[in-house]
Amino acid sequence: MMRRALVIFVLVAVAIPLMLAMAELPRHGSPDAPPQTHVAPYYLEHGPEEAGAENIVTAVILNYRGLDTQGEVTVIFTAMAAVVAVLVAGGAGVPADRAAAPATTPVSLIVRFIVRVLAPFIVLFSVYVILNGHVTPGGGFQGGTILGALLIALTLIMSESDARALLPQRPERLLQAAAPLTFFAVGMIGLLLTGDYLAYPHSGPTIWIATLMLTVVEIGIGIGGAMVVATIFRTMGADR
């Protein structure tokens, strides 16, 4: 009873100031609110020609706030490194009765068949999403997640050894770091070409280089993202 009263008190103490603050914020949806009049109009106006992307969200992610995105791919790499570091070489001190969980869940024939039939189409779709991020909703992360989901689905229907063979063995760790590495490489190329880190030569005769750099970044994010997601899943499922 005491505890419940305390919980209610905490929730009310959090909710009331937040509600008061929300009530005084600029009206929701108003075109005159500061977020709609200050920085964003610049993106909307100059995004297509300055950043070379019709999808302004992609323009912001890869161009205007590129360092954020480099940080973001590093965050997900950190998560992968953390999961591997926490779970690797574990297993000591398992209570015997609890450890007897089934090693693999049996998968029905239908699921196995459908995943195999859909796999090439899923790959195709993910490539499309990765490469078309600058004109349609999508981009490296979204496509990478689709690819990662496919890898997870395949891991589920295959035996342990087959699933291992699915991912390339030797360059595995390099591919896991693909996203931050391509960001660094492209950033340094930008530094050489324009004198600014992570800048793209968007104007002049070298515009094709900018397009190439952006595509490389998107592919890097896609492959890196897929590898990281699949690795996290596999590490969690491994050595029960």
Partner: protein
Amino acid sequence: MIAALWHNLDYAASVILFCIGLYAVITKENLIKKFMGLNIMETAVFAFIVAIGVVDGGEAPIMGPGVEPPFINPLPQALILTGIVVALSTTALALSLIIRIWRQCGTIEANELREVE
């Protein structure tokens, strides 16, 4: 205040979602449920920030022939894409910690774990 809140209903909804998540974090003993509460809180904050970018009658900020202003603010969407990746990363790490706790202690109920300690 109620009238003002009515205009900012989206923001108010995210506050309610935030409190639901906080409730789960405080009261649930199961570590996975606790963490799902945190995920709900994260979703609430993301929803709030995305809602900031909404413009009445706005379209998705993808330029091209045949689209006209007003456009929805692209910046919050870009930020929250980052935010979602951060949330995913935190979730992955939390789940792997829970797996380890389960293997070592055989339970993931916070009250039972306190006894184990």
